[in-house]
């Protein structure tokens, strides 16, 4: 069993829809939870991150972490065609520079105009 599970999709939604992306994990040591966005033929870019449990909002994006359930989510409101990308969740136990990230397999999202 993988440490981090993520539904690979693909997920296709109409413009303006609310998108929900999710990951589950098994390692209780994970403390930092990140969402990366990866456009085609590009490297992953950090979208947002959350420390421990709780919610974090940044514009149209909201990240949620439920450590009791080992479940994290990313919500995208008013989705735009420019949001079409692969979204990767990632986790780590430490914030130090030695941190090694454990990734989900990524969810491919297409937002249709």
């Amino acid at each position: 069993q993988k440490e981090v599970e993520q539904d690979p999709g693909p997920l296709s939604v109409p413009e303006g829809a609310i998108v929900s992306l999710n990951c589950t994990y098994s390692n209780s040591a994970f403390q930092y939870f990140m969402w990366y966005r990866q456009y085609s033929r590009k490297g992953p870019e950090l979208l947002m991150y959350t420390y421990s449990s709780g919610n974090k909002e940044d514009g149209r994006f909201t990240a949620q972490v439920d450590k009791s359930s080992k479940y994290i989510s990313l919500f995208i409101r008013d989705s735009q065609p420019s949001d079409s990308a692969t979204y990767l969740c990632a986790m780590t136990a430490t914030s130090g520079s030695a941190r090694q990230l454990t990734f989900g397999s990524g969810t491919q999202l297409t937002v249709l105009p």
């Binding site: 981090v4 990140m34 490297g43 030695a98």
Partner: protein, 113 residues
């Protein structure tokens, strides 16, 4: 230009050949990482380096060799390429104090025929 650059962007090689992927960063980050990305697996850590002349294995190190004689460079060598090493390879570097300071290159798409 400041940043992290990988070369080449695309490479086709034959089974059994040695191939080296290059990674260069201009931030003087201590930590550097090599990941491979495969469909269904997300990104998996191959090797990482804490400083010049200090390297360590990640999750999938077999068949790969790394070196780090200078802080800014972290080449990855496939000593005898196999078809299972066909993948997209990403280099990353890490700044010590913030989650945001973990940055990926644009990747090298390697095909072994």
């Amino acid at each position: 230009d400041a940043g992290i650059t990988q070369s080449p962007r695309y490479k086709i090689t034959e089974t059994g050949r040695q191939v080296t992927l290059m990674c260069h960063q201009t931030w003087s980050h201590s930590y550097m990482f090599w990941y491979r990305q495969d469909l269904g697996h997300g990104l998996r850590l191959i090797y990482y380096s804490a400083a010049a002349d200090i390297t360590d294995k990640g999750e999938v190190p077999d068949g790969y060799v790394v070196s780090r004689s200078k802080t800014e460079n972290f080449p990855l060598t496939l000593e005898s390429a196999t078809r299972s090493q066909t993948s997209v390879y990403f280099c990353a570097s890490s700044e010590s104090t913030t989650i945001e300071g973990y940055t990926f290159g644009s990747g090298t798409r390697l095909t072994v025929v």
